[in-house]
C-alpha cells in the first residue's frame, strides 16, 4: 500500500507519500522521510510516535479542507486536487453569499470580475451591534454584487456571488 496526498499550504503544494512498513508508516514529506507509528482515537485524535517523541494531534476535515491541531497551533490545509476536480463542475462553485441576518452594509470591497482568494473580505456589515466581515469561502471570481454601502439588507439577501472563473 502506498498513498500519495497533496496539500496546499499558502501558495505552496506539499506532497506527502505514505507507505506501510511493518507496523509503522514510512512517510515522505518533500525530501524528508519519517518512520511513524500511529493510532486513531476519538474526536479526530491521532497519536503518533517518532523515535522517543510522542505527539497527539487532532484532525478534522470538511469538504476540501483539512484542519490540524498540533502542539498548541492549528493549520488549515486545502487539497489542490479537490479544487481541480471541482472546477469541472459548475454546481460546486462557491456560489452565493447571503446575509444570515438583517444588517447595514458598511462597505463593499469587490466588484464583478475581481479575483478573490479564500479569506478575502468582500463586504463589511453591521448587525447586532457588531461589525462583520463577509469573506470569500474559497478562491474564485466575483460574478455579481448584490448590495451597496449604506444599504439595509434583509436576511437571505444575496450579497456577493462567486464563481470558479470558468466560463460555463
Amino acid at each position: 500500500m502506498k498513498r500519495e496526498l497533496q496539500y496546499q499550504v499558502g501558495d505552496r503544494t506539499v506532497t506527502v507519500i505514505v507507505e506501510r512498513d511493518g507496523d509503522r508508516y514510512r512517510v515522505r514529506v518533500g525530501d524528508r522521510e519519517h518512520l511513524v507509528q500511529a493510532r486513531l482515537g476519538d474526536r479526530g485524535r491521532i497519536d503518533m510516535g517518532v523515535g522517543d517523541r510522542r505527539l497527539r494531534a487532532y484532525v478534522a476535515r470538511k469538504q476540501d479542507r483539512t484542519y490540524v491541531g498540533l502542539d498548541g497551533q492549528t493549520w488549515t490545509l486545502t487539497k489542490p486536487d479537490a479544487r481541480r476536480r471541482r472546477s469541472g463542475s459548475p454546481s460546486a462553485v462557491a456560489g452565493a453569499l447571503t446575509a444570515t441576518m438583517p444588517g447595514l452594509v458598511l462597505d463593499v470591497l469587490v466588484a464583478p470580475g475581481d479575483v478573490v482568494i479564500r479569506g478575502d473580505t468582500l463586504v463589511l456589515m453591521e448587525a447586532m451591534k457588531m461589525e462583520l466581515r463577509i469573506t470569500a469561502p474559497a478562491d474564485g471570481v466575483v460574478v455579481a454584487v448584490g448590495c451597496e454601502a449604506g444599504q439595509v439588507v434583509e436576511r437571505g439577501k444575496v450579497l456577493v456571488e462567486i464563481g470558479d472563473g470558468k466560463q460555463n
Binding site: Y25, V36, R39, L132
Partner: protein, 500 residues
C-alpha cells in the same frame, strides 16, 4: 427555596445557571430560539420551550414569550443571566407583576444605575468619587465654559449613550466646538436624543471592578476586585483577580466605596461596581452592572463563593451567610475569553462551524463553554466560544497555567479564534509585570499578526495518516463491518510496538 426556575438566556451562562439549580435541587426550564434547538443548555434543563426565531428581538428579548413559558410550566422565579433582558427594569416589574421572583436587583435600583446621569448624582450623594465632569446644562455655551474649567483632555459623552456612540475625546480647546457638534449628530442618529455632558479624560486608567452581594435585609459585602484593563474594542478579553495594582489600603477604600454605592440605591443581589483608577491611584466610579458579570468565575475561585447560588438564595429571601470579615482572597485567578474573531483584522467576528472542540482539562482549569463540537458560531449572538478560567497559587503560576490551558485548547473548523493572540498577550512583558491599562492592547498589539510559518512535517503527517487510516477502516453503508467495529470510537491500523 424556589421549586422551578426559568433561565431567560442561552449559551455558557444558561448552562452555568442550570448547573447551580441542579446542585440545589431546583427544577429548571430553558428557553431557546430556533438556532439553539440542540444547545447544551436545552438538553441539560428539565424542560425547554422554543420562544422564536434566531434574532434576539424575536426570541430572547421577547419578554411576553418568556413570561408565558414561565407561567405555563409553573416556574416561581426567572434568572436573566447577563445581556438580553437582564438589565431591563420593565421586565423586572412584569416578572414580579406575574407573581414570579426576579433573580436580580429591584427595578428601581436598576433604573438609577441604568441612567448615567442619575447614577452619577446618586454616587456623588453617597460620597463615592466620580470622574470630574459637568452635566448641569446641555447648552453649547455652558459646556464650553465648563470645559475650560475642567481642563483638557476631556471626554464629550452622550447622555443617552452607550457602546462609545456619541463619545469624543477632546485633547485641545480648539477641537471642542467640532466635537460637540459631531457628538450631538451621532447621538441624535443613534438614540434620538442629542443631550451631552463632559468628563475629565482619565488617561491610561486601570479598569478595576468590585463584586458586591447584598441581601434583602440591608447587608452588603464586597468580594474584592477584578482587574479588567485588557480590552479590545472597549470589551474585556482577559480578567484577573487580585489586581496587580492593588494594595490592602486601596482595596479597602475601593471596597467600602463599592458597598456604599450599592447601599445608596437600595441594591439587592449580585452586582458589579466598575471604577477607573488613574496613575496616582485615584479611583472614580464608572458604572454599575446590575447583574451577574461575564467574568464572575474568577471571583468565585479566589473568594470561594458560588455567585450564582448566592444570587438564587438571596432572591429566595435568605440572608447573606457571611460577613465582610469572613471573606478572603486566596490564590490568583485569570479568565481568557475565547472568541471566534480575528485579532489580525480589528477583532472582527470570524464565525463558522466548530468541527471539533477539545477543551483543556486538569487541576485548576475551568472551562465555561457555550459552543461544542458540531456547533456553529453564528451572527445572531455574541461570538464567544468559551470562558477559559484558571486558578493558580500566585499570579506567575496562574499565567503559566493559563498558557498551558490555551496551548491544549484545540478548536478546529472555519472559525478563527483569538487563542494565539491571547498567548502572546500573556507573554508580553507589560502583562507579566501587571502594568496593563485600558489602552494596552491598542498600544502594543495594534499590528499583531499570527505566526504564519508553514506547518511542521508532523502536522502534514497527522493530516495524511488520519486520511489514510480513516479511509481504510470506514464501514460499508449497509452497516457490515469492513474492519473491526464501525461503532467503536477507536479504529486502529498500526499498533504501537516497543519503540526503543
Amino acid at each position: 427555596m424556589f421549586n422551578k426556575i426559568l433561565i431567560a438566556n442561552r449559551g455558557e451562562i444558561a448552562v452555568r445557571i442550570i448547573r447551580a439549580c441542579q446542585e440545589m435541587g431546583v427544577a429548571t426550564v430553558a428557553v431557546y430560539s430556533d438556532a439553539d434547538e440542540c444547545s447544551l443548555h436545552v438538553t441539560l434543563a428539565d424542560q425547554a420551550v422554543n420562544i422564536g426565531p434566531p434574532p434576539p428581538s424575536e426570541s430572547y428579548l421577547r419578554d411576553d414569550h418568556i413570561l408565558d413559558a414561565a407561567r405555563r410550566l409553573g416556574c416561581d422565579a426567572i434568572h436573566p443571566g447577563y445581556g438580553f433582558l437582564s438589565e431591563n427594569p420593565d421586565f423586572v416589574e412584569m416578572t414580579e407583576a406575574a407573581g414570579l421572583a426576579f433573580i436580580g436587583p429591584p427595578a428601581q435600583a436598576m433604573r438609577v444605575m441604568g441612567s448615567k446621569i442619575a447614577a452619577r448624582a446618586a454616587m456623588e450623594d453617597a460620597g463615592v468619587p466620580v470622574v470630574p465632569g459637568y452635566q448641569a446644562s446641555g447648552d453649547d455655551q455652558d459646556l464650553m465654559q465648563a470645559a475650560h474649567a475642567l481642563g483638557f483632555p476631556l471626554l464629550v459623552k452622550a447622555t443617552a449613550g452607550g457602546g462609545g456612540k456619541g463619545m469624543r475625546v477632546v485633547n485641545d480647546p480648539a477641537e471642542l466646538s467640532n466635537a460637540l457638534a459631531s457628538a450631538r449628530r451621532e447621538s441624535m442618529n443613534a438614540f434620538g436624543d442629542d443631550r451631552l455632558y463632559l468628563e475629565t479624560l482619565i488617561q491610561q486608567p486601570h479598569h478595576i471592578e468590585f463584586q458586591v452581594l447584598a441581601d434583602r435585609y440591608g447587608h452588603v459585602v464586597h468580594l474584592f476586585e477584578r482587574e479588567c484593563s485588557v480590552q479590545r474594542r472597549h470589551q474585556k478579553i482577559i480578567e484577573e483577580t487580585p489586581s496587580p495594582l492593588m494594595d490592602p489600603a486601596l482595596r479597602q477604600r475601593m471596597g467600602e466605596a463599592a458597598v456604599a454605592a450599592a447601599q445608596a440605591v437600595g441594591y439587592v443581589n449580585a452586582g458589579t461596581i466598575e471604577f477607573l483608577v488613574d496613575e496616582a491611584r485615584n479611583f472614580y466610579f464608572l458604572e454599575m452592572n446590575t447583574r451577574l458579570q461575564v467574568e464572575h468565575p474568577i471571583t468565585e475561585l479566589v473568594a470561594g463563593v458560588d455567585l450564582v447560588k448566592a444570587q438564587i438564595r438571596i432572591a429566595a429571601g435568605e440572608p447573606l451567610p457571611f460577613t465582610q470579615e469572613e471573606l478572603s482572597q486566596r490564590g490568583h485567578a485569570i479568565e481568557c475569553r475565547i472568541y471566534a474573531e480575528d485579532p489580525a483584522h480589528d477583532f472582527l467576528p470570524a464565525i463558522g462551524a466548530v468541527l471539533q472542540s477539545v477543551e483543556p482539562v486538569g487541576p485548576g482549569v475551568r472551562v465555561d463553554a457555550g459552543v461544542s463540537s458540531g456547533d456553529e458560531v453564528t451572527l445572531h449572538y455574541d461570538p464567544m466560544i468559551a470562558k477559559l478560567i484558571v486558578l493558580g497559587e500566585d499570579r506567575a503560576d496562574a499565567i503559566r497555567r493559563m498558557d498551558w490551558a490555551l496551548h491544549h485548547y484545540v478548536i478546529l473548523g472555519d472559525v478563527i479564534t483569538n487563542i494565539p493572540f491571547l498567548r502572546d498577550v500573556l507573554a508580553h512583558p507589560r502583562f507579566v509585570a501587571g502594568e496593563t491599562t485600558t489602552d494596552f492592547v491598542d498600544a502594543h498589539f495594534g499590528d499583531w499578526r499570527p505566526d504564519d510559518s508553514p506547518p511542521p512535517d508532523m502536522a502534514l503527517i497527522a493530516a495524511a495518516l488520519s486520511e489514510v487510516m480513516n479511509a481504510y477502516t470506514a464501514p460499508a453503508p449497509d452497516g457490515a463491518q469492513v474492519d473491526g467495529d464501525p461503532f467503536s470510537p477507536w479504529r486502529t491500523m498500526s499498533g504501537f510496538r516497543i519503540g526503543a
